[in-house]
């Protein structure tokens, strides 16, 4: 008589779950929800404070003036904003071509031992603490130039950009269908032309995403700038809009110690003056605005950009 045995097995299987197991289930769901709430609290608190304190502290002087002597109120971070922009441009000019180039190598020529070695190295570099990169930029650039400079800061940040950009570029190029390359070869187009105007072009939006992510990551970096760009209370170059600008030829001051937004935030936040605290919040707000804008741009590009089989 097989009927009863099946029946008990089925009954056991579908029998209402014991209350203990059911309670555990509910409790664990509750715990999971709780963790989400606990994680979102700091996020909300940080953005809340940034907006509340940042917008309140932001004013025209902050954007157009340079710091005033310690203890006085007023002044702003104009030189730090320009300095940050300069350092980021230097970093991008060095880091982006190398990053994309390395990515192209990995995707198109890197199916070998050297390729794997480079891939592994890029991943390792990604995990190196930024302050260590700062030491290296100090040793290479600052020691040979004999003084701190925007260039040294740019080199440090460029080193941080390359691994991210090269890995995302590689991933994006590999997504481009092989048939597209073959079609180009079939038309007699040389390999370099195919890579640049067919493969890379098809993957443009993905590559840009990688670049922007790397940019967003380095834009707020402070540690590698501490002993490379160092910071500066004044303008570091003679620019058309600053007091150094008279009848002399203008210079960017790339070889001079340069102020940067993150450095200034660090310095002001740890200072004892209330007015500087206020400016630190304003600086943080400007910085986060810069980063959120670039991250949003990334998401926009990603959503709009569809290519190949991806």
């Amino acid at each position: 008589m097989p009927e009863p045995t099946v029946n008990t097995a089925v009954r056991q299987a579908v029998s209402p779950v014991s209350w203990r197991r059911r309670i555990t289930d509910h409790v664990m769901t509750g715990v999971a929800v709780l963790t989400v709430v606990l994680v979102l609290i700091p996020l909300v608190a940080i953005f809340g404070y940034l907006i509340y304190k940042g917008v309140g502290s932001l004013n025209w002087a902050f954007l157009t003036h340079i710091p005033v002597p310690e203890g006085e109120t007023g002044g702003g971070m104009a030189n730090a904003i320009v300095g940050s922009a300069l350092i980021l441009v230097v970093a991008s000019v060095i880091g982006v071509p190398f990053g994309i180039g390395a990515g192209i190598y990995l995707a198109e020529f890197g199916r070998n031992r050297l390729g794997s070695a480079i891939r592994f190295t890029a991943d390792v570099l990604n995990g190196v603490p930024s302050i260590v990169i700062g030491i290296v930029a100090y040793a290479i650039v600052v020691l040979s130039q004999k003084h701190f400079s925007a260039l040294a800061g740019g080199v440090a940040l460029a080193i941080m950009m390359v691994p991210t950009i090269s890995r995302t570029t590689e991933e994006m190029l590999l997504l481009v269908p092989q048939a597209l390359r073959e079609a180009a070869y079939g038309l007699g187009i040389p390999r370099w032309r195919t890579t640049l105007s067919i493969t890379l072009r098809t993957a443009t939006s993905g590559v840009i995403t990688g670049v922007m992510l790397a940019f967003a990551r380095i834009a707020g970096e402070t540690a590698p700038l501490l002993f490379t760009a160092l910071g500066n209370e004044y303008w570091s170059g003679r620019l058309p809009w600053n007091s150094h600008w008279q009848r002399q030829p203008w210079t960017l001051g790339l070889d001079q110690p340069t102020a940067a937004l993150p450095l200034q935030i660090f310095k002001y936040a740890t200072s004892p003056y209330d007015d500087l605290h206020r400016q630190a919040w304003a600086g943080a707000f400007v910085l986060i605005l810069l980063i959120v804008t670039s991250v949003a741009a990334v998401r926009y590009v990603v959503r709009r950009g569809t290519f190949g089989a991806a």
Binding site: T35, I135, Q178, P190, A269
Partner: protein
């Protein structure tokens, strides 16, 4: 590729690409091609070069300190720039303890968030939720520090630390004056910073657990939590540990936020309320002002130690995550 000819796959197509090259030689495509390939190779080699450069600069920079102190450098606990006596133990201790505190707080939170987003929450909430958590990763370290100084630290000294001292003071971990600034604050801010890393990797790992694994456990009559515990978490264990170690790697090297709240005193204290110092923050604070070759060299040696530790930790993590997500087409490595 819905081509008419039944070709065997990518292997053949790549050789056909190679075969196309000789044809191009006649049309003068060879030289630019070679130039292009060398240029790209140079870019790739630059990545290797940077790593070699880092190792070389750190080693040559720390030679002086290595000759002066040897292995005792890592066991010594005085930090006396005036008499040029340097020991890195307080910094190593501070780095380890602050990272450990961060992990203790961050791991349950991150795993909880990952489980919730992959297994429990409605599909519509999934995207926004992970976006918000990842937004935490986009905030620069210095802004975490700023927030910690003006919001977290007062909160700790006003409410949390007196409470901890009263309830758990007997353990010796929570005693002393509640300044707010100190090891505990550093650990908490680090925890907030590594949650997005651990949770995003955990989520990635949970998502590669095959769906029939879940269905199988549910079909046996398990509740949802039992399904998650037995069918999902147990399968993803190695990957989750990898994510945790990756978070640890980040916490060890984190500089600015920690420097701003840890108190920066090279002391070894049992209480988490006491100020401390980490390897990264001593570099941040003292590197540009280091006078004397041995002083600078000692700092670089700390940098070298930090570099080696983070590399080992990261390699381990990569390996663990890789063992779980291997063979997944979702990662884009065709």
């Amino acid at each position: 590729m819905p081509g008419p000819q039944p070709v065997e796959g990518t292997k053949v197509t790549s050789t056909s690409a190679d075969r196309a090259t000789p044809l191009l030689q006649t049309s003068g495509g060879e030289v630019p091609d070679r130039v292009f390939k060398s240029a790209m190779t140079v870019c790739g080699l630059a990545v290797l070069g940077v790593l070699v450069l880092i190792v070389y600069e750190l080693m040559s920079g720390s030679r002086l300190s290595w000759h002066a102190f040897g292995f005792k450098f890592f066991g010594g606990s005085d930090w006396d720039p005036v008499n040029e006596r340097f020991g890195a133990l307080p910094f190593i201790y501070g780095t380890l303890v602050s990272s450990l505190v961060a992990l203790i707080i961050a791991v349950p939170l991150s795993v909880g968030v990952a489980v919730f987003t992959t297994e429990m929450c409605p599909k519509a909430l999934r995207g926004p939720l992970s976006f918000f958590v990842e937004l935490l990763a986009a905030i620069p370290s210095v802004i975490y520090g700023l927030w910690a100084i003006f919001v977290l630290v007062p909160l700790l000294s006003g409410y949390v630390q007196p409470f901890l001292a009263k309830t758990l003071g007997w353990t010796g971990l929570f005693e002393g004056p509640p300044y707010g600034i100190g090891m505990l604050a550093a650990g908490i801010i680090l925890a907030i910073m590594i949650v997005p890393i651990i949770s995003s990797i955990t989520r990635e790992v949970l998502m590669v657990v095959p769906q029939h694994q879940r269905e199988g456990v549910l079909a046996l009559g398990a509740t949802r939590w039992e399904m998650i515990r037995v069918g999902v978490l147990r399968n993803a264990r190695a990957g989750i540990v990898g994510g945790i170690i990756l978070g640890l790697g980040r916490a060890l090297g984190e500089t600015m936020a920690v420097t701003m709240v840890i108190g920066n005193r090279p002391e070894i204290a049992k209480s988490l309320f006491a100020p401390g110092y980490t390897m990264a923050s001593v570099l941040a604070n003292e590197f540009s002002e280091a006078t004397g070759d041995v002083y600078l060299s000692s700092l670089i040696e700390i940098g070298l130690a930090l570099f080696l530790v983070t590399i080992i930790v990261n390699a381990l993590a990569q390996l663990l995550v890789w063992t779980v997500t291997r063979g997944q087409p979702a990662r884009g490595h065709a």
